[in-house]
Symmetry: C3
Subunit: 126 residues, 3 copies
């Protein structure tokens, strides 16, 4: 069985993740945070937290995406995946400005992740 839609969503996810990682590198240079330190001004810490949180959520999202795609529907999973990516971009852009504004994007992406997991369970049971 081929799952091109989940594959494309994974590729876009990795591009988004690459962007988030590059933002930490840029902030490290701009705010002169020398490795191995990860302490710096709030602007640096926010970009770091966005990256760490994206990593954490990514390792929940990708298995859920693929299980949903495989056991239920490649296209339904891709829809959930697209929603997750949108939520994570909204989260990152909001968090970069103000940590208190991060909830909306986080909530969207979490709903998408849970939906994908439920979709996988549904596909496995039927």
């Amino acid at each position: 069985m081929q799952l091109p839609w989940a594959s494309w969503i994974t590729i876009v996810t990795l591009l988004m993740y690459f962007w988030v990682i590059a933002n930490v590198g840029r902030a490290r240079g701009k705010y002169q945070v020398k490795a191995p330190s990860v302490d710096g001004p709030p602007e640096f810490l926010r970009s770091l937290r966005v990256q760490i949180n994206t990593s954490e959520q990514l390792i929940f999202f990708l298995p859920a995406l693929w299980l949903c795609a495989y056991w239920w529907s490649d296209q339904v999973a891709a829809l959930g995946g697209a929603l997750w990516i949108v939520g994570r971009v909204v989260y990152a852009l909001a968090y970069y400005r103000d940590a208190a504004k991060r909830s909306a994007g986080f909530g969207i992406a979490t709903l998408a992740s849970i939906g994908l997991l439920l979709g996988a369970v549904y596909g496995l049971i039927r």
Copy 2:
């Protein structure tokens, strides 16, 4: 080839991981640790360390689980996976109370992970 057992183990793993992440969110609220800070009382730090360590181990475990399931046996892999989940829950519950008590659960899960990797190698070679 369908691998329903590894799929179910992955779903339970994600649920366990979700629980560990939710515990950090709860601790963040309870101990008033404001993002982007990740510094706080030991209770908060312990819940954070459990989550971080779970993420670290998860990205070793899931590939090992699936390689073992694919190349050797879906059911053997699921047994190793179930042991890993038990080990990680024991680890988390112990660590939440006392960091010094975290070794037993950690050891069980690490043995399970190494067993899965060896199982994958065995399946690939034969």
Copy 3:
């Protein structure tokens, strides 16, 4: 479709990752950094940063490796994967001595990761 080459590369990757994790455990003992603390002398911090950065990059690398292997070529993906592992080992060994020397290995591994992602896109399009 069987992908033994990507499987072997994944196994070697997990062994490399295990080595990096074990180095943090050893440094924790050597420099008496008691959990849940992750603060300590620069030697400890460097081994910790190597592990964290390896985790971050691993979750980009593995999906890119498998998408490239599946959609384009198992062997081409394995070549990119071998380059990634070499880059990460060079990175780790350099970073353990001096954080300022980490760029070369990091650059090699990042090029390999981007190459694998482009390979996946190429395979999906054609």
